[in-house]
Every structure is written in C-alpha cells, then in structure tokens.
Amino acid sequence: MGLREYVIRRLIQLVIAIFLFITIMFFIFRLMPGDPLSLVIEEFAIDPEARERLIKLWGLDKPPLEQYFIYIRNLLTGDLGVSFVYHEPVADVIISRKLLNTLALLISSHGMAMFLGMILGVWAAWRRGTAIDMAALTTSLILHSIPIFWLGIVFLMIFAVKYRLFPLAGTITPAKTFENIFEYIGDYLWHMFLPMMTITVIRLGSDFLIMRNTMISVTKEDYIVTAMAKGLPEKVIIWKHAARNAMLPIVTLAGLDMATVVSGAVLTESVFSWDGIGRLIYEAAIYRDFPVLQGVFFLIVVVVLVANFLTDLMYAYLDPRVRYE
C-alpha cells in the first residue's frame, strides 16, 4: 500500500493547513483595533495628512480583502512584506540576531532540561516507589506549577540584585571590546545563564515526568524482562536497552510542544530583556506591526507543521505497523 500516496496526501494537507493558517492569522490581526499609527498619537501629535500618507504607503487604505490578496500574492513570491516599525523586509527582521539569540537560549535550555530530565527520569523509574523517586516526582510536579516569569524574577532578585553574580539584562556587556571569540562567547554565556536556568528548571519538571513514565512502561516490556532474566548488569539494561527506547517520545514531544516553548520564550525574554523573537512578537502585537506578526507566526507554524510531517514520515518509514490512514 502506497507510501507515495500517503506522502502526497500529507503534503497536500500540509499546504492546506498552512494556507488556512495564514488566512486566519491575517484576519485576526486585522481585527485588532487601531493601526500602526495609533500609538504615535500619544507621543507626537501627528499631522492627519501625514498619517493618511503613511497609511497609503503601507497599503492600509485598501479594503482588507484586497490587502489579503496582495499579501498572498507576495507570499507566493517569497515576500513577507515590510515591517511597519523597522521599515525592513520582515524576513530581515526575523532572521537576525534576535533569531540567533532565541535559538541559543531555547536550544541550550531545552537541551539541558531534556538531558537532565532523561537522566533523572531513567534513574527515578528504575528506583520506582522509593523515597528518592517520590521526592523527585514531587519536585517535578512542583516545578510544573511555577509560573516561569515569576521564577525568572526571583532568580534576578537573588542572583543579580542581591549577590550580583549575573547581569540583569542583555545578551552581552555593552560596548565592550572583545579580545577574541572565546571572550565573547564567555560573556554571552554569562548573560544567558539566568534565563537559561529559568527555562531549564521549569522544563525539567515535565521532561522528567515523561521520561519516568515511558521508562516505567518500557521496563515492563518483554525484552527488558528477558535481559534481566539473562542476568545482564543493571547498568547495561538501563542505559543500553531501556533508556534508548524510552528516549523517542521525549524527543518527539519536544518538537511538537512548540506552542509552550514559544510562550515560555515570550515571558522569559521579557523578564530578562533578552533581545529575541519572543520580545519581537510581544512588541509587534503592541505596535500593530502586522507584517512582522504574520511573519513570525508563519515561521513558527511552518516549522512545526513541517516537523510534524517529517516525524510522521519517519514513523511511517521506520515502523511497519503504521498504516497510512
């Protein structure tokens, strides 16, 4: 039965989903009251004529439907539009230092959380029911219920204000001249430490739980029981047999859990003044920078949908039991 047909079908679904998404987003953003110029009025008494000129310049005077068609047409040619605030093509706004900052923060923190979560999860699952497991479990449940921004503030209060161990804001020491790349990286990591720890700690809770639960079910599977019966050393069984098989769900979930990841990024970046995509989203919403908002959402959704698609394909390819339905 056709893998090819399955791929084609999923591909078409993917395209439809993306199209549907950008349509919904476009109109939701247009629902927001005000235009990019509304904010200006509080700071400067902007001349009404100048305002109308700008509105025309940005094509906001056209009916929404026409704007939509123009948007779709531009999108098909790879043009995401021009930011109202930055006056740059949206792609340039997004693919910038901000994106790198966010990626660095998210990858390091989530990688760390995953790594620690896995180790702790495996370890706790193996000692299931003991006091240690119980303690780890309770801790992870507690972590699950801490608001991420609050933890960030508390970290700042303790480590940045009280003990001055880490900087309060920013990604590097401003205007410092770095001797070499290592010095720069060191400075960058020093700035990243607190936001990274914040996300790691919060994330650790759920990663640990997932890993622990998968491990528990994996250890009940026949091949583990067989391995135990064969008298293999415990370490070998845990790490070579059980953990490897339990790893899959956590990796998959991390990819699919983009929504939470982005939300966490918005709050964390805002607490630590980390100049990244999360802040960009927040500001774009406040400034009514529709093109940037659409661009960022487009990027996120395409990444997630394509990731989903690839994961499904991988599964379909790897696991003969998956039916292409």
């Binding site: 005000g34 509080e42 400067f44 000129r53 401003p174």
Partner: protein
C-alpha cells in the same frame, strides 16, 4: 415526566436556544432611544491598561462620582483600542489619555477645529465652536508673537469655559545621572538634549565614555524614519541642526551662526558657520542645507510634515548663505528647524528616504561607530567637529535596557551614567538615598487629561462637564499613585511654555483650578444646568438627566465669570470671524447631521465573539439533535 420524548425535547431545546440567541442579538443591536427620555448618569471611562496611575485616577474619580450619584465604570483598555474608539469611532463616554504636548501651542488648533470632528480627526471631544474655529485659523497663520499669545489666551479661556477636556496631572520627567557628571542642558525631554551630548563631562577629566541608557532599541538606522524618542537621542548626537532650543525653550543659532526673517515672515536667510564638516570631511555648505529641505519636501517625509507643508524652495546665495521661502508666515518654523538634521547631499542624493539602513555620515559631534542589535549603539568623538570644544567625551555609548528595574540597577552598579525614563515609585527612595546618583525631577509638558464625548447626551451639557472637573481628585492622584512625582494640572497650556500660558484661567474658571475632589461644588454645577434636570427618579442611587424644555433660558447670574467670546474680540478678529463664518457654518451643520445619527450600542467587537461562539454551539447542538443515523 417519565416518558421521554427525545425528538420533541431536542426540538424544544433547539427552539429555546435559537430564540434566546435571536433575542439577545436584537437587544444588542437595538438602538437605545436617548433623545427624549431621562438618561441615566452612568458612564464608562477608558484609559490605557498599561499605566497604573491613570487606572487609579479613573478609580478615584469613580469613587467621588458615586458620592454625587454618577456611576462610572473604569475600563482599562489597550491603547490602540482606546484611540480607535475615541478618535476613529467616537464611541466613548470619557477617556483619559496622555499628551506629550511638546508642540501644544502649535497643535492646539488642530484639536479645536470643528472640521477635525470627524473619524480620525484630532478633535476627539467633538468641539463645535465657531469662535474657536476662527481663532484656530488665525493662530495657524499669525507670525507675531504678541498676537499669538493673545489668540492662545483667548483659546484657553474658551476651553476652560466649555471644558471639552480637563487636565488631571503631569508626570515629572525623571532623570538620573551619576553625580560626577556635569554639563547637562535642558530641551524638550529635559536633560536628554542635543546640548547634553555635546557638553556632558566629568570636571577635571579629559575624554572618557558617556554611557546613556536607552529604553528601546533603534527600530531602524535611518535618521528620517519615525522612531521612538530614544532614537532621537542617538540622532541628536550624530547630526547638527541649524538652530537649537536653549534651556528656556527659545531658538538659538547653531550651524546657522545667525539668521534673518523678512518683514512678511515668509523668507528666512541663514548664514552658516564656515568650518563645519561632515564626518567624511566634506564641508557643510548652503547646498547641503538646500538639499536637506528639498529632500524632505520632495519625499514628503512624515516626520517633518510641517516643513513639507510650509516650505516652498531654497536659494543658495553663496557657499554659506541659504535663503528659504515659505508659502505663509509660519511662526513655529525655528522650533521645527531644531528638529531637522542637515544631511550631506553627496551621500543622500541617491538614497531612498525610507531605507532601513541608511548612510550615517552626519554633521554632529559624534561619528557612528558600531551597533549591536538590541544591545548598544556606540558613537565616537568626531575629531574635526567645528566646535573644537565639543564634544567633551571620547565616546558616547547608548546602552539598550528595556526593563527599568534593570536600568536603575545598572545605574547603581556604575554600568551607566545617565538615565531618562520611567522610575517606578517603589524605586524613588532607593535612587534618592544613593549618594552616587542624582535624581532630577523636571516638570515637562506631558500631561494627562480626562476627555468628554460632547456629542453624547448628557455629556453635551457644559455644567455636567464642569461638575466632572470638580470631581477630579487631582491632588490625590499626585500624592497616591504618582507618589509626588508630578503635579495637578490647572491649565490648558502648560506654564512650561511661558507667556503662552494664560495665568488668569484658574482664577476665572474655578472648576479648572480645583485640585481636590469637591462633591458639593459639583452638585452646585449640576443644579445650574439649563439643559437637564439632574434627579434620581428611579431611586437607584444614580442620577438621571431629564431634558429641560428649550424655552427655559438660563438665568444670567449663572454664568458669572464667562463672557461671550465675541465681546472680548478685537475688531480685526471680529471681521475675520464674520467673513469666514458663512463657510464654517455650512461645513459644521453638514457634519452635525451626520454625527447626530450616531447610535450608541455595544461595539461590534464586544459582541462579535460571544455571538459567534453561541451560534457555533447552537449549530452544533441542533445538529446533534436533528441528526439520525442515515
């Protein structure tokens, strides 16, 4: 009871659901008949949700209004939403907004013209006053300062009389610097001024780095693109202007060592300093000045709309003399010039005005060095600056810290030298008690006010608006949420603008002068109304406004301190008024007929979502009910 008839029951439920939805929809869209019936004094006051002080101000107002029998719902909203409702849809009762009115004397005409009482126009309160229209028209074209003052004084009196809005409080500009630094100068934004960048230094120390905290990143690297006030701080250091505004807010020569104006006020001649150069070493000549203005005019650059509007052409007399022609006498021209950076023709002639990363060859005391997006902007001293005594430091670093807590901590830690932005009240003591920091409070011109929708009865009653003016606990707002970092507003044009402020206003119009809530006075105001009778007819503790018959004229003694504006006018003004009234009235009546039919119902956004959801749910339910396996 026991016999369950599924079909009839489901139909019944579906029927009820549909009926209730239709009913609620009709109720939502039915215009409320307002004209003849008593109107309940129940209002909504909008303010931007992000500002705790304005929210508290609204809550305090509501508290006192309740004592009088006026119900006020405090509704913090998104700023954009508020502006859309207020300016574009005129769908509001009361609103609180801030006005960073650095150009208030110039722009006030924009806010009071009847013609601007249109969606999107700046006359948000719906002021329809022929006299104000005349005065505004005159103000726009009057050059003579004395005359301007005369007109502005009159405008202030009329505004204080009809009360389309009431000022509540001004917030001080808060500025912090490390005590060792000196040489700061005041301008629009207090000490974050061009002259500060040129002059700041540590006495007895050569060079050094001046580190300024920017509350936001540059949105683009182009001096012509509208950014935030923080952006202007960077460009002020990078570019020179023909004139600058001194500490007392009056224009002084700068790149133009002197200037003249023709007797009709339309032709300005500027004599440039001769040793000024751009950062690439080329001299700054009259041609560059001409190019700068032509460039603005030809591109219609939004940030300089006044220049574009009044500028006709320039004439290069010689390398260092340029003559600028305006289409009408324009008194505020010099003030505007203080904002126009002189750009080099040889660099900009082929550059589009709105490129996001434009050349940064400036004319100012600092050269562009580098910028790390989201982190900092670094400028270095331009060694060949025409003022050899400036700048005093080697480097000017703008460090971007958006979080004010972090910014203040950076100041404390000695990581920055100068901070102009919001200081949370909780942190004021901490700054004050720090011997290394100096906290400067500057009155400034930003003020926050309560605006009325005068189109909407009973807010069309001047006595009700005056009552509101009496209900505003301005002092409590200042003492409470503002923690003394500001002062009550009792004027229509800030004393900051010197002579433009009419000092008689508080004395003549006690409701504007009132700084504490005075419920009794407010009640008196209501009693004096000739338009409505304010009485609680349904005994719910909230007053109703009952329209009075038109025959009942107000008794003359009820308006003791106000005169008809016409009587106070000079003869020339009267003439102008008469000639223009015909045109005006036509416009006004036309617009009025439109606005009168505006129906006050709930806004579409308020009901759209619940309705959509309700419809979907009902549809889904009815679907389940109706469906049988086929």
């Amino acid at each position: 009871m026991f016999t369950i008839n599924n079909r009839s029951r489901s139909r019944f439920i579906a029927l009820i659901l549909t009926a209730s939805i239709i009913l609620s929809l009709t109720m939502a869209f039915t215009p409320q008949a307002q004209m003849e019936k008593p109107i309940k004094l129940s209002f909504e006051v909008m303010m931007p949700e992000y500002d705790p002080v304005r929210i508290r101000a609204g809550e305090l107002l509501a508290e006192y209004a309740k004592q009088l029998g006026i119900e006020i719902k405090v509704r913090p909203v998104d700023l954009n939403y508020e502006i859309t409702k207020v300016r574009d849809e005129h769908d509001f009762d009361l609103y609180i907004l801030g006005f960073s009115a650095r150009n208030m004397p110039f722009y006030i005409s924009d806010h009071i013209k009847s013609a601007n009482d249109r969606p999107g126009g700046n006359n948000m309160e719906g002021i329809r006053n022929a006299t104000l229209d005349q005065l505004a028209e005159m103000l726009d074209s009057t050059v003579d300062r004395q005359k301007q003052i005369e007109i502005l004084w009159k405008i202030q009196e009329i505004l204080a009389d009809i009360v389309p809005w009431v000022g509540i409080y001004t917030r001080y500009l808060t500025q912090v610097w490390r005590v060792e630094w000196q040489g700061f100068h005041k301008e629009y934004w207090g000490y974050a001024s061009p002259m500060t960048w040129r002059n700041a230094h540590i006495p007895g120390k050569e060079g050094g780095v001046f580190r300024v905290i920017l509350a936001d990143d540059l949105k683009s690297e182009n001096v012509h693109l509208e950014g935030s006030i923080y952006e202007d701080m960077v460009w002020d250091a990078l570019y020179d202007t023909l004139v600058f505004l001194d500490d007392s807010y009056s224009p002084q020569p700068w790149l133009a060592e002197r200037f003249e104006v023709s007797s009709d006020g339309k032709v300005w001649t500027f004599y440039l300093v001769k040793n000024a150069t751009f950062h690439d070493g080329k001299p700054i000549t009259a041609r560059d000045v001409k190019f700068t203005f032509d460039y603005i005019k030809n591109n219609d650059i939004p940030g300089y709309s006044n220049i574009a509007r009044y500028y006709v052409k320039s004439e290069v007399i010689d390398d260092y003399t340029v003559r600028i022609y305006l289409n009408t006498p324009y008194a505020w021209f010099l003030y505007d010039l203080a904002d126009v950076p002189i750009i080099p023709e040889h660099v900009w002639k082929d550059v589009a005005w709105n490129t996001s990363v434009a050349p940064k060859i400036g004319s100012g005391p600092f050269k562009w060095s580098r910028r790390v997006e989201g982190e900092y902007v670094e400028l270095v001293k331009y060694e060949n600056y025409w003022r050899s005594d400036m700048p005093k430091v080697d480097k000017l670093v703008f460090r971007i810290i958006r979080n004010f807590n972090a910014a203040l901590l950076a100041m404390e830690a000695g990581e920055a030298d100068f901070y102009v932005y919001y200081i949370p009240v909780g942190a004021v003591d901490r700054v004050k008690n720090n011997p290394e920091l100096h906290l400067n409070l500057e009155r400034g011109f930003t003020f926050y006010y309560l605006g009325f929708n005068m189109r909407k009865p009973p807010l069309d009653d001047v006595w009700l608006r005056r009552a509101f003016a009496y209900l505003l606990p301005k002092d409590e707002v200042v003492k409470g949420p503002l923690q003394g970092l500001g002062e009550p507003v009792t004027w229509y044009i800030s004393p900051y603008f010197g002579d433009f402020n009419n000092p008689n206003v508080p004395e003549k119009f006690p409701w504007i002068a009132s700084t504490s809530a005075n419920v009794e006075k407010a009640r008196e105001m209501l009693a004096m109304s000739d338009k409505y009778e304010y009485r609680d007819i349904d005994d719910d503790g909230i007053l109703e406004a009952i329209p009075k018959k038109m025959e009942r004229q107000p008794q003359p003694r009820e308006k003791p301190k106000t005169e008809t504006p016409m009587q106070t006018m000079t003869e020339t003004e009267k003439m102008m008024v008469e000639t223009k009234t015909i045109v005006r009235t036509q416009v006004v009546t036309k617009v009025e007929t439109v606005t009168e039919t505006v129906v006050q119902g709930p806004s579409t956004t308020d009901i759209a979502l619940p309705v959509v959801i309700a419809v979907i749910v009902t549809a889904a339910l009815t679907y389940i009910f109706a469906r049988r396996r086929s």
